[in-house]
Amino acid sequence: MGAATQAAPPANAFRWGADREGGGPYIYPDPNEPSRVIGFEVDLANALGRQMGREAQLVFCGWDQILLQLDRRDIDLALNGYEYTAQRARHYAASVPYYKFELGLCVRKGSPIDSWATLRQPAAGGSRPRIGVLKASSADRYVTSEFGVSCEVVRFEGVVETFKLVESGQLDASVQDLPPLVFYLDRLKRYPRLQIVDRPAQPGYYVLYARSTDEALIEATNGALRKLYDDGTLRRIYEKYGLWNAAQEGLPQVWQHWPPEDTAPEAGVLAQIRAELPLFFRAAGMTVKLAFLSMPLAVAIGLAIALIRAWPSPVLGGTGAPPRVAGQLLRAVATLYVEIVRGTPLVFQLFVVYFVLPEAGVNRLLAYFGLTSIDAFWSGVLALAVNYSAYEAEIMRLGIQSIPVGQMEAALSLGMTRALAVRRIILPQAIRTVIPATANDFIALYKDTAVCSVIAVEELSMQYSVAAKSTGLFLQMAIVASVLYLAMSWPLSLLAAWLERRLNGNKLQ
């Protein structure tokens, strides 16, 4: 029986999972009809279905989550550039390879990096080259183990992001499976400033995965793959996307000795968790740094905005006289800032800071001041600060306006200037009233740091996702990450509650 929320598949259909944002040439929106997807894996799945006499139903998944969807029985086959690993094969039934790939090294034209070997040499400036990879992919494992000492590995959810960032100079290289490299650089010519250098390295195999109980489905798939190879269908599909090469010619030889011997028996669950713990702690440190750097910045920006917006009000000594044009303009800008920032999602703001600002000339501006381009970490700090500053501005504005006007009048009557009265009399009281609300926001920001994983900041949720995917221990790693989040946010909650009690018990008026 299918779940009530989803239609049960026809008896002879199989559901295969893939990420529609996975990108070319695997699966991508048809440029002529964006609601449809095309790609060599779409063609392959349909060919397999025809061969097996079953209907291939595509179910969209997040690329990271495809194997989880298998466990959830939302899909029957994972088919989306998932390479064979012994670790995965222990938990899932794996097919024979349908494609043999290698890793390519992609850099800006004219880059000092012109071979794998240069990645091992210390860079001229002493800084480590930044290499973009797909999170938890074979490129991630290869670069981390081979060049992790001399290079900084920056992990992304998608391939295309890394190309953009190599072009803009925020990354020094991108290491990817050859199919997308060939597709975007050679076929689409979308990144004319990039090139592939040196020979491809580290071969790997794309396979289909099914639940370990679904051996029969994998057997049928293997049989169908052999027939597609023999009757030339596989070759036609791959040639259509420019993917056919000598390595694919040799697939049948690979199949004869498949699967490879599993040489490293799996470590126990506890041992795997223990091995990940230091990485979790380091990631937690990154989360703390993000939160503790961005919140003060958010409060400072928010305070400035609140003062600009509330300046004409009597509690700040405004006379109610019509403000000057410059003042009105400044206030309009501040209001617009608050509305725009509050009205758009944090993740977009993060993308703007990280991907758009560098291309909008900010890098040149920074270079003028002798600074390098703004990296992922500082982009995260800035985006979080900007996002929360809008909320802090509103909280602060209400806090200011909750102070009785008489406080300002008394201060002015004592000969204080407006600025002095704001600084010594109004703000100290306003800040006291907003401390509980701000403390609550801090806890919220603290958890929102997780968003920075999309621009490859190695914070706690990123570490969770990498650890979960590389070990398959999704639940266990989620518990570790949650405990760490809680261990840090709980004290903050207690602090907020204590502050609130203290301020209530010590009523100002």
Binding site: G406, E409, A410, A411, L412, S413, L414, G415, M416
Partner: protein, 247 residues
């Protein structure tokens, strides 16, 4: 000393003050009485620059405040407020500062007095208004009468030439009213120039040098208390005196 000349204040197209003139000589006490809503508080707030006025002028010693919101207003206000202190109906003590801190705040940050000296002076002033204990108490821990006495000490700490009292006892019960009026009477005796807006007629009779009656935005009668209270010449004054209980 304090001179208000032909002061006109309009609010929403209506004239609240219609050309008010009054003088308070050095070392004397002017008391301003009048029915509710006649513009007494507005006059005080114009005199210390908390509200703008459309015509006329306020002068305290050499400091002058002219009508309108011209460019020189900030400078005028800075000078004027050095010579004018204000005591409010709602006390307006700084809620986040202790009794002592309320008094030393302006001397330190406006007059740049050394902290030690400011504290010494504040302790003397607080003693003068009858407060010698719990100087580290916060305003919300004090009674209304205590708060108002701190507010008077706070005004005195700036050594103003004139102190404006804007209905200083209207929020207080009779006992606290008495203690605050007592302090004000002592101040008057010591020669402090004061302009007092009040409904406390017996205080006016006892302490005032001159009483000014403000009705509908105009001073209708001015003179020594015995003259104004015993032989009022204006119908509105008679009405006002009949209505009040001389409490």
């Amino acid at each position: 000393m304090l001179t208000v000349t032909n002061l006109v204040k309009r609010r929403g197209g209506r004239e609240v003050l219609k050309g008010v003139s009054l003088r308070v000589e050095r070392g004397t006490v002017g008391v301003l009485i009048g029915p509710s809503g006649c513009g007494k508080s507005t006059l005080v707030r114009c005199a210390n620059g908390l509200e703008m006025f459309e015509e006329g002028e306020v002068a305290v010693g050499d400091a002058r405040l002219t009508a309108g919101n011209g460019n020189g207003r900030e400078q005028q206000l800075r000078t004027l407020r050095r010579s004018v202190g204000t005591v409010f109906q709602q006390f307006n003590l700084f809620a986040h500062r202790t009794m002592l801190e309320n008094v030393i705040e302006a001397p330190i940050y406006v007059l740049n007095k050394p902290r030690k000296e400011a504290i010494r002076q504040a302790e003397t002033l607080l003693a003068r208004v009858g407060l010698t204990e719990r100087l580290d108490a916060f305003p919300h821990q004090l009674s209304g009468g205590q708060q108002q006495r701190v507010a008077i000490a706070r005004a005195l700490a700036m050594q103003p030439e004139v102190i404006l009292f804007d209905e200083p006892t209207s929020s207080l019960d009779p006992k606290m009213t008495a203690e605050v009026l007592g302090v004000m009477a002592d101040l008057a005796k010591s020669g402090q120039t004061m302009l007092v807006v009040t409904h406390a007629m017996s205080f006016a009779r006892r302490v005032a040098t001159n009483v000014h009656v403000l009705v509908d935005g105009l001073i209708v009668e001015s003179g020594p208390p015995e003259q104004v209270f015993d032989s009022p010449t204006h119908a509105a004054t008679r009405e006002l005196l009949t209505a009040s209980t001389f409490g």
